[in-house]
């Protein structure tokens, strides 16, 4: 398939390009100009950008199909312009065996949608006691190793896991949260949790765990990516760690850029997230940190939850929000609020995310993978149970109109979504 996209506003964060032009895709790759195209798409009024890369999207397979299926969530991905995604290992069973990873990759590939990069479990069953066969898992396609939201309280195991991963140069992706300090908590420990009578998780549960992790990185030189920062203090620690030259990166979840504990309102269980939504001050520090590079990229932390998991009292609700289809609109909203040029905003879900994930996509250079999204930055999407393709309808933004509507999603030169 030789594809010609004309009249687009081409925005390529990797090169800084932003201007009218034509884009050519041949043999699944971004190509030089050619004259005979199999299909020409007129993208007048649309932005052509590299397909989005979401480094945390739960597909719920294997084992959690009642919440969502690979088919439903891959539809959600391409509807949201996401052409590559990394899925955390917290499936049932967790991604701790090569056979499981292999099956997931085959099933995902058969759908011919977004590229799926499995993140393997760091410890067997995510129990935090025994290391997984990381080298074998890497051979079947795991791009990194993680505990997802499962705890790893034993710092001895953590140290050994980092040493072992560093031996092979495997990246380790970890949340920074002290198991004991977070125990039983469901909301940011502050004025709002106090008013609502919800058990709190103090900010220092994150900064203490992060300090421990950074010290272990100094000792092991393991490549560590910190997932889902939630506090201003953690942003500061990451900024310092990078200045020091530690091999660390980090991300923030899309919801934490926009919401804070105030948004819990009257116990809105859609705002029950991990990590918890924190104070306004934390939210502002996260938004600023993403802009200045203390935080590398943003992800949806997509977590489809069924109604049974959310139509319960707040503390009993299953944490998480659906996010694949909100990644673009909420990234644009963040960039708009900070008056960033479009390329700067999009970098956080393209080139910067590609760098963290260690893949060659996320750019429009000739020879790069032919993953492209065409979207209308001005047209709005209504976030509702009916419009969301994801099986999870759980989002604090239900009922919102958000700007940024994906029109066409192209993976490896194939048009996989038109809306």
């Amino acid at each position: 398939m030789r594809l010609h996209i004309k009249n687009a506003r081409i925005v390529d964060p990797a090169s800084g390009r932003d201007g009218k032009g034509d884009l050519y895709i041949a043999d699944g790759k971004i190509s030089q100009e050619f004259s005979k195209a199999d299909r020409t798409i007129d993208a007048k009024g649309l932005v052509a950008a590299p397909g989005f890369i979401d480094i945390a999207a739960r597909l719920r397979e294997p084992g959690l199909e009642y919440k969502a299926t690979l088919a439903s969530e891959m539809q959600a991905a391409i509807a949201g312009g996401v052409t590559s995604l990394a899925c955390p290992p917290d499936t049932d069973p967790p991604l701790d065996e090569p056979g499981l990873v292999d099956m997931l990759r085959r099933r995902a590939k058969a759908l011919e949608h977004a590229r799926v990069y499995p993140v393997g479990a760091l410890t067997v069953k995510l129990e935090g006691t025994r290391l997984t066969e990381m080298a074998q898992l890497a051979e079947t396609g795991c791009v990194a190793f993680s505990q997802a939201n499962a705890t790893l309280a034993d710092t001895q195991v953590l140290w050994r896991a980092l040493q072992y991963a560093a031996t092979f140069g495997f990246p380790v992706w970890l949340r920074a949260e002290d198991t004991w300090l977070a125990k039983g908590g469901v909301a940011h420990d502050g004025e709002i949790a106090t008013r609502l009578g919800l058990p709190g998780i103090p900010s220092f549960a994150e900064t203490i765990a992060l300090s421990t992790l950074l010290e272990l990185v100094r000792a092991t030189r393991a490549r560590v990516h910190i997932c889902r920062l939630s506090t201003a203090g953690a942003v500061e620690l990451m900024r310092a760690a990078k200045r020091e030259g530690l091999p660390v990166t980090c991300d923030v979840g899309i919801h934490h850029l926009h919401l804070c504990d105030n948004d819990l309102g009257y116990f809105d269980s859609n705002c029950r997230l991990e990590p918890p939504l924190r104070s306004q001050r934390d939210r502002d520090a996260l938004a600023a940190g993403l802009q200045d590079g203390a935080i590398d990229c943003v992800c949806s932390d997509h977590t489809p939850v069924d109604d049974d998991g959310k139509h319960v009292p707040f503390a009993e609700a299953e944490p998480g929000a659906t996010g694949l289809e909100l990644l673009l609109p909420l990234t644009l909203k963040w960039g708009e609020a900070r008056r960033l040029p479009l390329a700067k905003s999009l970098a956080k879900i393209t080139s910067d995310a590609a760098r963290v994930l260690g893949v060659g996509s996320g750019k429009l250079a000739v020879g790069a993978p032919g993953d492209v999204v065409l979207f209308d930055p001005a047209a709005s999407v209504r976030i509702s149970a009916e419009t969301l393709k994801s099986q999870g309808k759980n989002t604090p933004f239900l009922g919102y109109e958000l700007a940024g509507r994906v029109r066409t999603t192209i993976v490896a030169g194939n048009v996989v979504h038109e809306g």
């Binding site: 949790a193 106090t194 503390a315």
Partner: protein
């Protein structure tokens, strides 16, 4: 932020979920109505026909004797039919969800649900899913709120002190886990008490409690000085020995109300406790049974207050 889910379009009380967010006028209306019912409870025939033909479902997902009983008495004095469900030992163990339970009871033509639940916010969830003619009254949710207890506390204070302005009220003990404390604090600040104090060790005071409009005291003697009202909170057994407190004895020594400590408060101070009391832990018997104690009148007033709340929501 959504609009207050307790109020209907006319701004009247549709459900009673929390004292927080209720305007002074509604609190006063409830207290005044309770005043008028206080007489009923002393009559030979203790019934008024205000809720005749209505069904009140007592939905207790957490065990309770006193609160459930006073709600039952209050509903019966209003001539309602009362159905008590001890859900802690029925459908929940069969795996039925909270909302399914409520939907089933709603199909049995309920008018008022009185709900107690161990999870903060559970009555809000129920209120969002009931039919428009149904009313939810929170009888205690987690650590969050216990509005009828807060109202009966306010009623008691008003009964003995007449007016809230100029009053200094101290709330002592386990504020962290106390829905009673949260409700009373909101009520007192709304009705204009001049100073609300909380007294306790840092382990039992929630983060940012000052933002509720209270003054924090670690030293009980200092905190009791010149108080008009002393409210002692119950200390749950399971919190007495662990990371929060070393022992009941040490707690009693520093935060238990004794006659000697009470002497630091005003001469005409009243002592309150939501019950059940741990004598010798948060309160000494000499104080609980002494001349300053209004603990038993609180229970009596509780019936009138619950009658008031049920009659008001049912009338809106």
């Amino acid at each position: 932020m959504q609009r207050n889910p307790q109020l209907n379009d006319a701004g009247e009380l549709q459900h009673l979920l929390s004292i927080e967010g209720l305007p002074r006028e509604i609190l006063t209306q409830i207290l005044d109505t309770a005043e008028s019912f206080a007489g009923v409870t002393e009559r030979e025939v203790k019934k008024v026909p205000l809720l005749r033909g209505k069904s009140v479902f007592n939905l207790f997902f957490e065990p309770s004797t006193r609160t459930r009983t006073t709600f039952e008495i209050a509903a019966k004095r209003l001539s309602a039919d009362v159905i008590n469900l001890n859900i802690a030992v029925s459908s929940q163990t069969k795996g039925e969800s909270l909302l399914d339970t409520v939907a089933n009871l709603s199909a049995m033509q309920a008018d008022i649900f009185v709900v107690r639940h161990s999870s903060s916010g559970a009555p809000f969830l129920i209120a969002r899913h009931v039919k428009s003619h149904e009313h939810v009254i929170n009888a205690g949710d987690g650590r969050h709120s216990h509005p009828t207890q807060g109202l009966l506390d306010l009623f008691t204070i008003r009964h003995y002190k007449k007016d809230f302005s100029g009053l200094t009220v101290a709330i002592v003990g386990d504020v962290l886990h106390s829905r009673v404390a949260r409700s009373l604090i909101h009520g007192l600040t709304t009705l204009g008490a001049s100073e609300v104090r909380v007294i306790g060790p840092q382990t039992l005071l929630p983060t940012g409690v000052e933002a509720l409009g209270v003054k924090v005291f670690r030293d009980m003697r200092e905190g009791l000085r010149d108080c008009d009202v002393v409210v002692m909170l119950r200390l749950q057994n399971e919190r007495m020995n662990g990371a929060l407190l070393p022992s009941a004895q040490e707690f009693n020594k520093h935060y238990g109300l004794t006659a000697e400590k009470l002497a630091l408060a005003r001469k005409d101070a009243i002592v309150m406790h939501p019950g059940p009391m741990n004598r010798g832990v948060e309160i000494d018997s000499s104080v609980a049974d002494g001349p300053h104690s209004v603990i038993l009148p609180q229970v009596t007033f509780g019936i009138a207050v619950r009658m008031a709340v049920m009659s008001i929501v049912a009338g809106n």
